[in-house]
């Protein structure tokens, strides 16, 4: 919320006048953060208040006037050339931009404009007399600014003083529970508490404006249906007002201040209601009293489906929770949100019914949200407006209205206050205050702090009874009082201590995600973190079957953009898109991994069901490889499918243990992988992930160029490794035998390993593939493989004969079962 420093000071009597910086610091320290400060007069310099002492036409130009001005009484006059049609008679004050003055210049002038003496049609003009637009105050260039005849500003004073611009605008970040600081008065209450002083209430004396009309004139009944929904309603009728653009000094001052807090002035009447709202925090509404016929103002709930046309001309359909102000049965306003079209104040209005009321925050918030009608009024009512404030605000607005609109108060205010409550006192225990705050506070210190905030404090010693001011509806509990005390004493008074550890923290297993992350990064990949959501297009790019849970992503009900509409069910789309992004930035060589949750609907056939339960959030790891690995000299070798496979195994082994057996099986049915270059990874019989070349269609849909390899592994399916156990280091040498096989090209290497494993000879210590050779010379559909098998016994050196025998048995098995021929 924006406030003006001058306005704030008007409501305070402080022990010592602070600078604006001191004031901002004091408020921030107390919990009202000042987020910004703007010097309203910073737009120009070198412009002073000058008095016209004579004028004559320019000898060379009809439209120009030579104006004699002085900046001190009895001083020498200076002649300024002016092109405006409204140069006033001698005696009036104008604003003179002298030589060297800095003005904003026409919109978009960089650095503004600095005035120099220049001849205008042969007459040198030392500066100029200013119009609104030249000072950046508005659009008007109709004439120069002429101050009121009774303007009190001293001659020679900066123009800012005369324009109300020698002021600061402060932006206050009001906490959501502090409805009381949404007006200058509430902030003044904070300032006097922090800096010590007293509150100065604005003038609400109506004696000069009372007594219009015969006794009982303007009398209305007020009928409140639910005292909880509307705790107080004050109606007051003002007669004989003229609704117009305010031109009096007071009206201008009001308009100036409203502009200062970012509100566009509209008419004297609307400006007064806005002014009082910003001054006191109480939203007000003015009805055209002639449009009200029934003599009864009602406050009641809408009936479901009730129609009501708000003053913006839109017909709204109401629901039972909406609160309506009525003239008899007819709705005339949506309480606290917006007035009705047919009771709106217009330029023809002469009699006004002024509403100052207090409505239930929840009701206003629901209505405002449902209808999308957020206003300054609803913002305040949502956060709670003190019913005690209504009377002050009503009188203040009536006084100002009479002053700027020329009206008289008709009869007395009607005050319906069914929701009046006495504020309950709160028992505060000093030991509790000390324990929660960690500060050794004395009761007297607490009492002082609370009294400065306007609380009534009874009791002494170790128990205080605290009654907060009615405006502070947020203070209801002992702990609320503790915070208030601490706020005023100052959080900086709290010492720093470290809490003692009374028992050892609970055991927690290593985070599998971090285990995988560290392993993959240590093995040379770069970790990416991508958004948990993605577009429907990206989500669908993998081409998953409808039977796959991952094809039914969870939708975000209110995404910020279509790019973030669906929760990811796989890490790959966003990772592949990251490859695309890197490629488009001239980085074709990319090896990235991500470890993170994917989001799956719970239960079968879930796509049709709305989600009322939590998602499954299994942890996955995925990697993508494009371009080449870094080379020594030259460009390095291209990444290939075996890199994807290797890194998948790195992630798996990091979690499940280095000795875990991972099986590989070729697959052609993973829709996002190339049907001929893809494998599934198995732990026992469970498929835990896939690797391969990304299917060219998928890659193209996601914009990536060139061959792309990937893996993705469901880490949630992996068992945690137990601490590895040592196996004894072999004491006897082993020996190796090679075998060269000619076999069908479609027989996978894993099959050869399986056959060797089936022999289950305990002497076999390792199997290694030395060569996988394909050549037409070998025969149609044939390949040659050279395997090396190592043999070792733990307790002796094997004899040649033993090795030979074991090897021949294995070779025979291979020849028979693959089948293969020995070469």
């Amino acid at each position: 919320m924006k406030i003006l420093w001058s306005w704030l000071l008007e409501l305070c009597d402080l022990d010592r006048q602070p600078t604006v910086e001191e004031g901002a610091r004091a408020l921030t320290r107390g919990g009202l953060e000042i987020e910004g400060m703007t010097n309203l007069g910073a737009g120009f310099t070198g412009v002073v208040v000058a008095q016209v002492v004579g004028k004559k036409p320019h000898p060379q130009a009809d439209k120009l006037t030579l104006v004699d001005v002085i900046t001190e009484r009895g001083g020498a006059a200076t002649q300024v050339v002016c092109g405006a049609p409204n140069v006033p008679e001698a005696g009036r004050k104008v604003l003179w931009a002298q030589i060297g003055a800095k003005l904003p210049g026409p919109a978009g002038t960089p650095g503004g404009l600095t005035l120099a003496a220049k001849p205008v049609k042969g007459v040198v003009s030392p500066g100029m007399l200013c119009a609104e637009d030249e000072l950046g105050l508005g659009e008007s260039h109709a004439g120069i600014i002429v101050l009121d005849a009774d303007d009190p500003t001293a001659l020679g004073a900066p123009a800012q003083q005369a324009l109300g611009l020698d002021d600061w605008m402060l932006e206050v970040n009001a906490p959501a529970n502090r409805g009381d600081v949404l007006g200058h008065l509430g902030i003044a209450r904070e300032l006097v508490a922090v800096l010590r002083g007293t509150l100065v209430l604005p003038d609400v004396d109506l004696s000069a404006y009372a007594g219009a009309g015969e006794p009982g004139a303007g009398r209305v009944e007020i009928a409140i249906q639910d005292p909880e929904a509307c705790r107080r309603y004050i109606a007051r009728v003002i007669d004989g007002v003229t609704v117009a653009e305010g031109t009096s000094p007071l009206a201008r001052r009001i308009a100036q201040r409203l502009r200062g807090v970012g509100v566009r002035p509209i008419s004297n009447l609307v400006d007064v209601t806005n002014y009082v709202m910003f001054e006191l925090g109480q939203p007000l509404h003015a009805f055209d009293a002639h449009a009200l016929k029934a003599g009864v103002v009602g406050v009641s709930n809408a009936s479901d489906g009730e129609k009501f046309t708000t003053l913006d001309g839109i017909e709204r359909t109401l629901v039972a929770g909406d609160l309506v102000i009525r003239d008899g049965d007819r709705g005339i306003a949506l309480a606290g949100v917006m007035g009705g079209l047919d009771s709106e104040v217009t330029s023809r209005t002469t009699r006004v019914l002024l509403e100052s009321a207090s409505f239930r925050p929840l009701s206003i918030r629901r209505t405002a949200r449902r209808l999308g009608l957020h206003s300054e009024a609803s913002h305040r009512f949502e956060r709670g407006v003190d019913p005690e404030l209504a009377e002050l605000a009503s009188a203040r607005a009536a006084r100002l209205l009479c002053m700027v609109g020329g009206g008289k108060v008709l009869g007395e205010a009607v005050d319906a206050y069914p929701g009046k409550r006495t504020v309950a006192s709160i028992t505060v225990r000093m030991p509790r205050v000390r324990m929660v705050s960690g500060v050794a506070l004395e009761p007297s210190t607490c009492r002082d702090a609370l009294e400065r905030l306007g609380c009534v404090v009874a009791g002494s010693g170790e128990t205080l009874d605290v009654t907060p001011p009615s405006a502070r509806a947020d203070i209801t509990r002992e702990v609320d009082v503790i915070e208030e005390v601490l706020r005023i004493v100052g959080y900086e008074q709290v010492p720093a201590s470290l809490p003692a550890l009374r028992q050892p923290p609970p055991l927690r297993p290593a985070d599998p995600g971090d285990v995988a992350r560290r392993a993959l990064a240590a093995a040379g990949l770069c970790e990416a973190i991508t958004f948990a959501f993605q577009s429907a297009e990206r989500s669908g790019a993998l081409g998953l079957e409808v039977t796959d849970r991952r094809s039914q992503p969870i939708a975000i009900h209110n995404p910020m953009s279509a790019d973030q509409a669906l929760m990811r069910t796989s890490l790959l789309p966003n990772l592949i898109a990251a490859v695309t992004r890197n490629q488009s930035h001239g980085r074709p060589d990319v090896a990235l991994f991500e470890v993170g949750s994917v989001f799956l609907r719970r239960g079968e056939g879930a796509a049709e069901r709305p989600i009322h339960e939590l998602a499954d959030e299994p942890l996955w790891a995925a990697g993508v490889f494009a371009g080449r690995r870094p080379g020594h000299i030259g460009y390095g070798t291209p990444w290939d499918v075996f890199d994807a496979k290797a890194y998948a195994q790195v992630a798996i082994r990091a979690i499940a243990g280095a000795s875990v057996e991972i099986k590989t099986r070729a697959t052609s049915t993973v829709p996002y992988l190339h049907p001929g270059i893809a494998g599934e990874l198995l732990l026992g019989q469970t498929v835990i992930g896939w690797f391969g070349e990304v299917h060219p269609d998928v890659r193209r849909k996601l914009g990536a160029e060139g061959s792309l390899f990937a893996f993705d592994v469901d880490l949630s399916k992996l068992p945690a490794a137990r601490p590895p156990q040592m196996t004894s280091i072999p004491r006897f040498p082993g020996s190796a035998r090679d075998v060269s096989l000619l076999l069908g090209a479609s027989i996978p290497a894993a099959r050869v390993e399986d056959v060797i494993a089936q022999v289950a000879d305990p002497l076999v210590s390792s199997v290694r593939l030395l060569e996988d050779y394909r050549d037409a010379k070998l025969g149609e559909g044939m390949k040659s493989m050279l395997w090396s098998i190592s043999y070792r016994a733990p307790d002796r050196t094997l004899t040649d004969a033993e090795v030979e025998k074991a090897h021949e048995a294995i070779v025979a098995r291979l020849v028979e079962h693959l089948p293969a021929a020995r070469r």
Partner: protein, 344 residues
């Protein structure tokens, strides 16, 4: 053959060996030549078979001559081998490689900056007995808001614009639901930190719709606002490796009372302010929110607020990394741009 002839022949063999070994340049050939002369069936042995035919009086003379030849050959072999070895050693040392050629690249991986910062933050808090607690990123409205004293229609909901999955299921806007879950299942004393992704409808250079928080919660007998302050000072000082202080500023979060904004002494200018662009001259930078756990929250999770007190704090890890590493736009964290990722 007379002794004299025999001696002459031995000396001829010696000269013959000398000539034979001259062109030989490897050990194997030299050894073969040696065997050819001195081996069991070598030329010297063959010749010495004649020794038995000599009169015994002549034998010592010839024997001495034979030994001389044998020693000569052996010495020659030694010398020859040594000179060969020397030459080889010299040749080896004469090799040269352009060591300014580029190093062979070792695959250098990188943990994401946010991962590094998270692990480090968790480590620092663990020194004070905080253990990691985690929870789902999609959670119930109750865990995310209601239990934390933010009922539906509370203006405080405006502070965190929420992504909804349905009316009662949300993307968590903070990791506080983890605190709720922990307090529901674990009796005090509690000391947890919950790092993780959170989501808010916000998108500009300092806000990302997904970002990473770390929150802490301690519940025990006798915990105070002062303990909260101490823990935060410990954290920022360790994280920035400097003695930094913390300023708590009154603020409002429905789930803590007293509540505070946490400002840290600016780690760039060390609080001097002036023209510092990081703290905009104030000497302080805002890093998060904190406070004493509100009794209403304890009531919701069935913890006795008369017996126990607690404190909670939360901050954004992106912001911490920005402050420490000068990252100037939050979007870099989530784009997967290797030019960014490789820097850390």
């Amino acid at each position: 053959m007379s002794a004299t002839q025999l001696i002459e022949n031995l000396e001829r063999l010696r000269d013959e060996f000398h000539t034979a070994i001259e062109p030989l340049a490897d050990e194997q050939a030299i050894r073969a030549a040696q065997a050819q002369f001195l081996g069991k069936k070598g030329k010297v042995s063959e010749l010495m078979k004649e020794l038995g035919k000599l009169p015994p009086g002549d034998r010592p003379q010839v024997g001495t001559a034979a030994n001389n030849v044998k020693n000569f050959i052996e010495a020659m072999v030694e010398q020859r081998l040594r000179s060969l070895a020397d030459r080889a050693a010299k040749a080896d040392l004469a090799r040269s490689i352009d060591v300014t050629l580029p190093a062979r690249p070792v695959a250098a991986g990188h943990l994401h900056l946010l991962t590094q910062v998270r692990l480090e933050a968790v480590q620092i808090f663990s020194e004070l007995g905080f253990v990691v607690a985690e929870g789902p990123q999609i959670d119930t409205d109750w865990n995310t808001f209601e239990a934390l004293a933010i009922p539906k229609d509370h203006p405080a909901r405006d502070m965190q614009d929420t992504f909804y999955v349905s009316e009662d299921i949300v993307l968590r806007t903070h990791t506080s639901p983890v605190q709720v879950r922990t307090m529901l299942t674990q009796a005090p004393p509690i000391r947890i930190v919950s790092p993780g992704h959170v989501f808010r409808r916000d998108d500009d250079p300092t806000h990302s719709p997904m970002f990473t928080q770390i929150e802490g919660l301690a519940v025990d007998e006798g915990l105070s606002f002062a303990d909260l302050k101490g823990v935060l000072i410990h954290f920022v000082s360790r994280f920035f490796q400097r003695d930094l202080t913390v300023r708590l500023r009154p603020s409002y979060f429905p789930f803590v009372e007293p509540g505070a904004e946490v400002d840290m002494q600016c780690s760039f200018c060390m609080g001097a302010g002036g023209a510092c662009r990081v703290c905009k001259g104030t000497g302080w930078v805002e890093i998060g929110g904190a406070g004493v756990v509100d009794p209403d929250v304890f009531a919701n999770v069935k913890i006795d607020s008369e017996k126990y007190t607690g404190f909670a704090f939360g901050m954004g890890l992106e912001r911490m990394a920005m402050l420490r590493h000068g990252v100037n736009d939050i979007k870099f964290y989530y784009e997967g741009d290797v030019r960014f990722l490789e820097q850390f």
